[in-house]
């Protein structure tokens, strides 16, 4: 055993020094290289994850907005159509109302005019009758005076 150790230059002090060396190297590399590099990788992964998530969210929101817009547009179009059709209906109604009212009024005007004409005729007749009566009385008086 000792022979082997001597041939290969084994020395417990050297062995310990090399062990310590490696341990120190491990600590140094861990502190200066592995820890910060892995941290950076994790950080970047988180950032990418966040970015992807927010992009997805934005896309979703965009879709929602698009849908909303379409909905509003559709609603507005139908409403406008409704308004148009109701206003058309109402206009027609109004027009027919106005026409019928005018007809009524014309009828009533004609009626009242006829009535008044008849009344006038009646009065004229009555007045002429009265006149005729008066004239007859006057004529009779004159005849009587002459006699």
């Amino acid at each position: 055993m000792e022979e082997i150790a001597r041939v290969f230059g084994l020395n417990w002090k050297l062995f310990l020094v090399q062990t310590v060396n490696f341990s120190v190297l491990l600590l140094v590399l861990w502190y200066f290289l592995y820890r910060p590099v892995l941290q950076m990788i994790d950080e970047r992964r988180q950032k990418i994850e966040k970015g992807v998530k927010s992009a997805e969210k934005a896309e979703k929101r965009l879709d929602e907005i698009e849908n909303e817009r379409e909905g509003v547009l559709k609603k507005a179009t139908t409403e406008a159509g409704e308004i148009l059709s109701t206003s058309k209906d109402r206009a027609q109604e109004k027009a027919s109302e106005i026409v019928s009212e005018a007809e009524n009024r014309a009828d009533s005007l004609v009626d009242s005019a006829q009535q008044r004409a008849e009344e006038m005729k009646d009065r004229a007749l009555r007045e002429s009758k009265e006149e005729i009566g008066k004239a007859a009385i006057l004529a009779a008086e004159q005849i009587l005076r002459k006699k």
Binding site: E3, R6, F8, N11, L29, F32, P36, V37
Partner: protein, 273 residues
């Protein structure tokens, strides 16, 4: 008995001496299994591999510091490279372990094993490693000692890595399954066959220490030896494709070390049935 013992020791001394100085005067090939000592610091022998491993550590620390400090949400090229590499490793670990939390906890160990071994092996043939050094006069004549030596050609390093991996595997196993359940993998008294299998498992568990350390050590050292031998025959051009291949082997070995640690952890956290 004593005679034969001392004879063996003598023979071993001779081989040791050969390996230590390892100067084959006629061929000029210099191969040493052990790292050469450059100096002593507070009783700790400073070997050339130790110096190289400090340089590797420093390089990794500097890279880590600059990459870690300049992180941006929108990454640059270097940041992308590190992020891709680390997140690939982490993702793969999560798939193998089927446990994202445990993968996160174990990640620094596996990643550091890979990065340290890979960078050490990548810089294996950097000019200067193995060639910068000084000449000493010893009783065997002039001996060249290099100041830098590829890190994983030192069994101390690979054994340290193996022990760390081994302990981590056992600790994770015990922490996940609980001491009794984990121990029941190796001490199974339900049947004779189960008991035998358990003992074999226990042995193979400890054999990992040896396989882990010697696989890495052997592969990298063999590559160096191959290059040295080829370079001594054909110093120009021919070593280049071999060096490329050895760098590839070095990367593969780094991946194997890290992956085996990961797989053994997966085995350790799997419930016995």
């Amino acid at each position: 008995m004593e005679n034969s013992n001392s004879a063996i020791e003598n023979a071993a001394d001779v081989t040791y001496a050969a390996q230590e100085t390892a100067t084959y005067a006629d061929s000029g090939i210099h191969i040493a299994l052990a790292a050469e000592q450059v100096g002593v610091f507070f009783g700790v022998p400073i070997t050339n591999t130790l110096i190289t491993s400090w340089i590797i550590m420093l390089l990794l620390a500097i890279i880590a510091f600059f990459v870690g400090r300049n992180l941006r949400v929108i990454p640059g090229r270097i940041q992308t490279f590190f992020e891709e590499m680390l997140s690939f490793m982490l993702g793969y670990m999560g798939e193998v372990l089927e446990d994202t939390k445990l993968a996160r906890k174990l990640f620094p160990l596996i990643a550091t094993l890979f990065l340290f071994i890979a960078l050490s092996n990548l810089l294996e043939f950097t000019p200067g490693i193995g060639s910068l050094g000084f000449v000493e006069s010893t009783r065997d004549g002039e001996v060249f000692t290099s100041v830098l030596r590829s890190v994983n050609t030192d069994l101390n390093v690979t054994l340290a890595l193996a022990v760390i991996a081994f302990l981590s595997i056992e600790i994770v196993g015990v922490a996940t399954l609980g001491t009794l359940t984990y121990a029941s993998k190796f001490f199974n008294f339900k049947s004779v066959l189960g008991f035998l299998v358990g003992i074999i498992e226990l042995f193979s568990e400890f054999a990992r220490l040896i396989s882990f350390s010697f696989r890495l050590f052997g592969n990298i050292l063999a590559g160096e030896v191959l290059i040295v031998v080829i370079a001594s025959f054909v110093p120009l051009f021919l070593p280049v494709p071999m060096m490329l291949f050895e760098v590839f082997v070095g990367l593969i070995q780094a991946a194997i070390f890290a992956l085996l640690t990961l797989f053994f952890v997966k085995i350790a956290i799997t419930k016995p049935h």
